[in-house]
């Protein structure tokens, strides 16, 4: 009967040649030992195949490229979260200021429209031998917009007098 320890050492090839021959001869009359040895071999075979398959599946090509890509993705996620935090804190402030700026610009643009020359002559006095005429010049570009002109005409008697 082959002991468990000797069987394992036999399987691992750790026995001396003489001892290995002895274990081999004993195994011929030991079905249980043979069965145990067969299981050891099957287990080694399975482990070997699994390791080989894992090695085949592993792709070490461009490993650093992929590592860098992952690092960048993590950085992007961190930046995105920082922006979200900033937006959460100051978003309403910035939006309010932007609205105020736009409204202010609109009001300023409205008030900075074309200058009106609208004028009302409330009273007018002309000198002797003079005639004043009040005229308006309409601006066709702006409805209702007109410029007032006072035209003073002196008679010949007064022209050239100091």
């Amino acid at each position: 009967m082959v002991t468990e320890k000797d069987l394992q050492r036999y399987f691992d090839g750790e026995l001396s040649p003489a001892k290995a021959r002895k274990v081999y001869r004993e195994l011929q009359d030991d079905p249980a030992g043979q069965q145990q040895l067969a299981e050891y071999r099957q287990l080694r075979s399975s482990l070997g195949q699994a390791t080989k398959a894992a090695a085949e599946e592993a792709n070490f090509d461009h490993l650093w490229t992929r590592v860098k890509a992952n690092i960048k993705e993590e950085d992007a996620v961190r930046s995105s979260s920082r922006f979200s935090e900033w937006l959460r804190r100051y978003g309403l402030v910035v939006a309010s200021l932007a609205v105020a700026l736009v409204v202010g610009l609109i009001v300023t643009m409205q008030s900075a429209g074309p200058v009106s020359n609208d004028c009302v002559i409330e009273s007018i006095e002309t000198g002797p031998n003079a005639l004043s005429t009040i005229m308006t010049i309409e601006d066709p570009a702006i409805a209702g917009e007109e410029t007032t002109v006072i035209w003073v005409t002196e008679t010949a008697a007064d022209e050239g007098e100091p």
Binding site: S116, V120, E122, S123, E125, G127, T148, V152
Partner: protein
């Protein structure tokens, strides 16, 4: 849902922005509603007036580039009778409310300009009540006096004074300060 803010200062900025926006949007509307009629502004205002002396003549030429803002007016009657307009002089006068400033025109006539008061018309627009006289020195001729109210920044034209084989046109542009 409003986000939470870390400081009271942040809230203050928002409040100021909202107040500013509100005033910009609704301020002028309320003011115009309250001042449908012309209203005197009880302030010690000052106006800045520019007096431009222009010579319209039959000499070939064009409208002086410095008068480009009057191109439309000077291209229509009665000014369209002239072939050219030249700016002879331009002078700025600052006139306090109730005060009078004067200057001598190229025709040697004396221009006197008084700022009477500042008015607020519909739509919250400022108007200026002024008094103008253009006369020979110490004589009550030509245009001894005219009172007018004009839109803030508007221009009044006074023409007819003979000068250098042409006609002198005086442009008065006044703006509240």
């Amino acid at each position: 849902m409003f986000p939470r803010f870390s400081t009271n200062g942040t809230r203050s900025v928002i409040a100021i922005a909202i107040i500013f926006a509100g005033q910009s949007l609704f301020g002028s509307t309320n003011a115009s509603a309250e001042s449908q009629a012309k209203t005197k502004l009880a302030t010690t205002a000052t106006v800045s007036c520019t007096v431009r002396s222009m010579l319209g003549s039959q000499k070939a030429g064009a409208i002086d580039k410095r008068l480009s803002f009057l191109n439309k007016q000077l291209s229509r009657p009665p000014f369209s009778a002239y072939k050219s307009f030249k700016l002879l002089a331009a002078k700025d006068l600052k006139i306090a409310q109730g005060a009078t400033q004067q200057l001598v025109l190229p025709s040697q006539k004396l221009l006197r300009l008084s700022f009477k008061e500042k008015l607020l018309s519909a739509k919250n627009k400022v108007r200026l009540r002024m008094h103008l006289s253009i006369t020979p020195p110490k004589r009550k001729k030509f245009l001894p006096g005219t009172q007018f109210s004009i839109a803030n920044g508007g221009t009044l034209l006074v023409g007819g004074d003979k000068h250098q084989n042409g006609t002198l046109v005086v442009g008065l542009t006044c703006k509240s300060q």
